[in-house]
Symmetry: C2
Subunit: 242 residues, 2 copies
C-alpha cells in the first residue's frame, strides 16, 4: 500500500476524482519520515513550508495557554492531513505533535499549490477536508461545553471509532488508540484523575474499555445513545451527490 492510498480513499468517499486527479496525487513528491511519540511536527508561530499526511500513528493538535495548561483540540489518524490549513494560513496558531510513534509523508506547499491549481477537483476535495475538520471542531466545542465528563469521553470514542472505521482501521468496534489518561484529560478538559474514574464508570456500565493502547467498544448502539453521537457532522459521503 502506498503512503497516499488512505488519503485518496478518504477523498473519494466524498468527491469524484478522475484518473488524471489520482495520477497527480500519486505523482506528488513526498518525503516519508518516522517520528517517535510526543515529537513536535510544527509549533505555534512556525511558518511551515510543507504539509504532512498521516500514514501511521496518532497526531494531536494542541495549544498551551497562559496558565500553563494544554488543550488538545483534535486527533488525527491515518489518511488525515493535520496541517493542511498551513497552506493558506502563514503562521501556526497552535502545536502539532505526535501522540504515538508515527509515519508521516511530507509534501511541499509549493507542490500542493501546483496540484490544486491544475486540478480543481483535488482543490475542492481538500477544501472539503478542511470544512469537515471545522465541523469536528464545532462538535468538540459542544462536547466540552454541554456534556458531563462521562458522556464527553463516550462521544470522543464514538467519533474516533467512526473515523477509524471509515479508513478501515477498526475491527469489531475496537481500534488502536495509544494515549495516556493525562493526555485524554487534556483533550476532554478534565483532570487525569477524573479520566480514570470516568473510564471505570464506562467500563462498569458495559460501554467501552481501554487497555493496552486499545479501545474496545463493548456496546456500540448503547455508546452512541449514551454519548448523543450523531454522525451527521462527519459529512461522510454527503458530497458525492453534488
Amino acid at each position: 500500500m502506498r503512503s497516499v492510498d488512505l488519503m485518496i480513499r478518504k477523498l473519494r468517499l466524498h468527491t469524484a476524482l478522475d484518473d488524471a486527479d489520482i495520477e497527480a496525487l500519486y505523482a506528488l513528491p513526498i518525503r516519508v519520515r518516522e517520528l517517535d511519540e510526543r515529537t513536535s511536527i510544527a509549533r505555534q508561530y512556525d511558518r511551515p513550508n510543507e504539509c504532512c499526511l498521516v500514514v501511521r500513528g496518532t497526531i494531536s493538535r494542541s495549544k498551551i495557554v497562559e496558565s500553563g495548561k494544554r488543550q488538545i483540540m483534535s486527533f488525527h489518524i491515518p489518511g488525515d492531513i493535520p496541517d493542511l490549513e498551513s497552506l493558506f494560513l502563514q503562521k501556526m496558531d497552535h502545536d502539532i505533535t505526535t501522540v504515538s510513534p508515527a509515519i508521516l509523508a511530507f509534501v511541499a506547499h509549493q507542490d500542493l499549490k501546483n496540484l490544486i491549481r491544475t486540478h480543481p477537483a483535488v482543490a475542492q476535495a481538500y477544501w472539503r477536508c478542511t470544512l469537515v475538520d471545522a465541523a469536528i471542531y464545532r462538535e468538540w466545542i459542544v462536547n466540552l461545553s454541554v456534556r458531563p465528563a462521562p458522556a464527553r469521553l463516550a462521544h470522543l470514542m464514538a467519533e474516533l471509532r467512526h473515523r477509524m472505521e471509515a479508513v478501515g482501521l477498526s475491527v469489531d468496534n475496537g481500534f488502536e488508540f495509544p494515549i495516556s489518561q493525562a493526555e485524554l484529560g487534556e483533550a476532554l478538559g478534565i483532570t487525569a484523575v477524573h479520566v480514570n474514574r470516568v473510564l471505570q464508570a464506562l467500563r462498569s456500565e458495559g460501554l467501552l474499555e481501554m487497555r493496552n493502547n486499545r479501545v474496545t467498544v463493548a456496546n456500540l448502539p448503547k455508546l452512541i445513545r449514551y454519548a448523543g453521537f450523531d454522525e451527521v457532522y462527519l459529512h461522510e459521503a454527503d458530497g458525492r451527490l453534488q
Copy 2:
C-alpha cells in the same frame, strides 16, 4: 455602501484580488433580506442552496443536544459569510440564527460555484475565510475548556472587539453587541445567573461593561492580559505575504 463592500474589505485584508475579481464579486446576483431577531436562517439537516453574507446585525451558530441544552459555537458580524461551508457540505450539522435584527445578502450556491471556478483568487480567499473560522473554533475550544468563566467571557469580548475593529465597527474600544445574558451563557457554557455575576466582577475590576446592547472595553491592554488573548489565531493580513 454596497452590501458586499465589507466582505471585499475583509477578503482584501489577506488575499490579493485584482480588478476582475472585484468586478465579479460586485456582479454576484444577491437577494437582500431583513430578518427579525432570533429568526432561523438555516436549520440542522437542511440542505441549503444559497449562502448569506451578513450586512448588518449579529448571527449565531448553534447546536441543540439531547439534554435540550443549546450551545452557541460562533458569532458572525457584518462582512462574514456564516454558512459558507454549506457550499461543499450538503447537509447542515447545526443551526444558524439571527441574534439581533439583521440584514443579509443571499447568494445562490450555483453563482458562487461559477465565481470560484472562473476566479481562483476568489476561491482561495473564501477557502482562507473558512480556515480562519476553523481557527476561531479552535480558540473557542481552548477558551471553553481551560479558562475559568471570567477569563472566558473576557476572551470572547477581546476577540469580538478585534474582529469588529477590523471591519470598522468598533469605536473607542466599544461595539454594538445586542445579546441577552442567557445567550451569552449558551456561548460560554455557563448559566445565565453565572454570566450575570461574572459581568459584575469584570465591571468592578474595570475591564469592561455591557449595557444597552453595547460592550465598552474600559481597559483594553488589561482585558487582553486578563483573557490571555493572542490575536495570532485570527490570521489578519498574514496571507498578504504569500
